[in-house]
């Protein structure tokens, strides 16, 4: 069953056709990678999923609901979480607070003036956030300020924030960008582990083929705003159109 259905999506910025009649279907419980050379429109497509951009034409359906024209926080509330290319975290707050905020948002909805209770006495939220930090391996650092951490830890924190909301769909925008090989491998292991325990559907945008072939069940190749090929990793590897898209435009 497809949890995310993208039909005939096009987006134009001035003279640039960023997306041209994109069709995509993400099956529930799979890891779906979207790859393609720079400027292929991968990030534009992702932005259409989370309400940051509205496509000129076409539809994006998630779990039977249209994602077009609703706000980012509403999209998140129906079960879509996003990890950004550069980690977007609450840099001035502690790791624990960083994870408690999405947990509160998941429990209390988009807006609630809960001003009398003490945040550190909301034990269900606190316990849940601590469990998530434990799972992701940041529990020991839970009282540190988020900005003081390494980039790899920030990325893992951002994943913890997304996971704390128990999303149905996790969107990852180059989750290993700028990471060392060791950090990349750790992230791959983490993502694999999270997939096994939760049966979470993931959409990954990635440049690093090592990451893509380690994780993905299914791959869509985007070039110049169009899906030029989609298939399982084994079959994508040998596809001449994919080689052409990469080698013909720029070396990756």
């Amino acid at each position: 069953m497809a949890i995310l259905q993208v039909r005939n999506v096009s987006k134009r910025f001035g003279g640039l056709q960023a997306l041209n009649d994109v069709n995509l279907s993400v099956e529930k419980g799979t890891v779906h990678a979207i790859i393609g050379p720079n400027g292929a429109g991968k990030s534009t497509l992702l932005n259409c999923f989370v309400g940051r951009l509205i496509p000129d034409t076409g539809t994006v359906m998630f779990d039977g609901k249209s994602l077009l024209g609703i706000k980012p926080h509403q999209i998140n509330q129906i079960g879509v979480s996003r990890v950004f290319q550069t980690p977007e975290i609450f840099g001035d707050l502690t790791l624990l607070e960083n994870v408690m905020i999405p947990t509160f948002a998941h429990r209390d909805g988009a807006f609630k003036v809960n001003w009398w209770n003490r945040a550190d006495r909301e034990s269900d939220v606190q316990d849940h956030a601590e469990a998530i930090l434990q799972e992701i391996g940041l529990y020991e650092k839970r009282l540190e300020i988020a900005d003081s951490m390494s980039r790899g830890d920030k990325r893992r924190l951002e994943m913890a924030m997304c996971l704390s909301q128990d999303p149905k769909l996790l969107l990852l925008d180059e989750p290993t960008a700028g990471m060392s090989r060791a950090d990349t491998n750790a992230t791959i292991d983490l993502l694999k582990r999270l997939g096994e325990t939760r049966g979470l559907t993931k959409v990954i945008i990635e440049h690093d083929m090592h990451v893509v072939f380690s994780l993905a069940n299914y791959i869509s190749v985007l070039a110049q705003g169009t899906v030029i090929a989609e298939n399982t990793p084994e079959l994508i590897k040998g596809d001449p159109r994919v080689k052409e898209a990469y080698l013909g435009t720029e070396a990756e």
Partner: protein
């Protein structure tokens, strides 16, 4: 205690003691001594300390937590004042209805202003609030003269209806009271040359300030406060985390507007008069200075900043040249002349110059304000002690992590 953690309870108790004992603490010099003019323990000034403390506490809920810098909060102070004076003119000289109405009216007005201004953020938000406040000032000054009394402002008059009060005799001015206790009532205590003044109005304002302070601690420590801090840190992430940030910022704006209205109502309860200058942009700027001077985002900082600025405004501005001459009379004439000429720039009408210098020193050397500086200093001492201890025991344990600075 009170549903607060140990540190916050301690802070609340310290602040409660300081405000209750203020008549002693602010009058350290005996009456008639040459330093007596530095005493701040007279009712009018003490009332201002706590009332502007309330104003700054409320402002800090918006600016300190969400980072939205309003340059128009004096408008809410002024609106609260006008609401209170009308209550005194129409209903009763009892201050309770006046204060309640001032909070409600300021809350409604800030809902309107906030709804419009919060469409933008950053500098544009600040400019919008400034524009709103100046518009309010202009309206109060001229267009709305029938309601605001224009340039002269409003005071309770003998022929006001005051439907709940008994008629006052001719020639008796109606006075603000709390169920019969007049706000101006003072009781003086003489002790070995010291004179301590206990004023009913001050204690009413101080108790309200303590309640306001307690409520602000609850807000700071609540999930709501956590969301507001998240707005300041990364609003983008918050939106993608399923939080609608608009109503959060609006709620913070309205709460801080209500605090400002409360302060405005209390000002009227103390001196039963109001004029449009209360809404002038310098008054909005003053609360920004108070908050930054004391420490943005800290609990007690804004109160300290308010106290410091009000103290300087009232004490430094009273020092004049002849006073300076008396102080430096023991020096040779030439030296004393130079000193007097130099220092007279910084006192009297020039007290703003001192404030400016102080502000610059604090912002440059203590970026966290007075409270931030104190905490930072304490932490540095703590850390160097800790390092010494570590060296002694040669252990490799990580130093204890400290909680976020508040």
């Amino acid at each position: 205690m009170f549903g607060l953690n140990r540190n916050d309870t301690l802070l609340l108790i310290v602040v409660a003691l300081l405000t209750m004992l203020a008549p002693f603490l602010l009058n350290p010099f005996p009456e008639g001594s040459s330093l007596a003019q530095f005493n701040g323990g007279y009712p009018d000034l003490m009332q201002r300390f706590v009332i502007f403390g309330i104003f700054a506490i409320g402002f800090n809920i918006l600016f300190g937590l969400t980072g939205y810098l309003s340059f128009g909060h004096a408008a809410f102070l002024g609106v609260g004042s006008y609401a209170a004076i009308w209550m005194m003119k129409l209903l009763t000289m009892n201050v309770i209805p006046a204060i309640i109405l001032s909070v409600i009216v300021a809350g409604l007005f800030s809902l309107l202003v906030g709804y419009i201004c919060l469409r933008r953020s950053g500098i544009y938000f600040s400019i919008l609030t400034l524009a709103f406040a100046q518009m309010s000032y202009a309206l109060a000054y001229s267009v709305l003269t029938p309601i605001t009394g224009g340039e002269t402002g409003l005071q309770p008059k003998l022929n006001d209806p005051r439907i709940l009060d008994a008629a006052v005799g001719s020639g008796v001015t109606p006075r603000a009271n709390l169920f019969g206790i007049e706000m101006g009532t003072s009781w003086q205590m003489d002790w070995n040359g010291w004179v301590f003044t206990f004023n009913a109005g001050y204690y009413l304002a101080a108790i309200i300030m303590l309640i306001a302070f307690y409520l602000s601690i609850r807000i700071f420590r609540s999930p709501f406060g956590l969301m507001l801090r998240a707005v300041k840190t990364n609003q983008n992430r918050l939106n993608y985390t399923g939080v609608n940030t608009k109503p959060y910022t609006l709620a913070a704006f309205v709460i801080s507007g209500m605090y400002a209205g409360l302060a405005g109502g209390l000002l009227v309860a103390m001196d039963t008069q109001v004029g449009p200058e209360r809404m002038f942009w310098t008054a909005s700027g003053e609360v920004v200075l108070m908050t930054i001077l004391g420490g943005v985002g800290t609990l007690i900082g804004p109160v300290l900043g308010a106290g410091l600025i009000k103290y300087m405004e009232n004490i430094l501005s009273k020092i004049n040249e002849s006073l300076l001459e008396a102080w430096f009379a023991f020096m040779p004439d030439a030296v004393s002349d130079v000193m007097v000429t130099l220092l007279s720039l910084f006192v009297g009408k020039g007290w703003h110059l001192t404030l400016g210098l102080l502000f610059m020193i604090v912002v440059i050397f203590l970026p966290g304000g007075l409270v931030g500086g104190l905490i930072g200093g304490g932490r540095r001492m703590f850390r160097s002690n800790d390092r010494k201890a570590t060296r002694k025991t040669k252990s490799n344990q990580t130093p204890p992590t400290s909680q976020t600075a508040e």
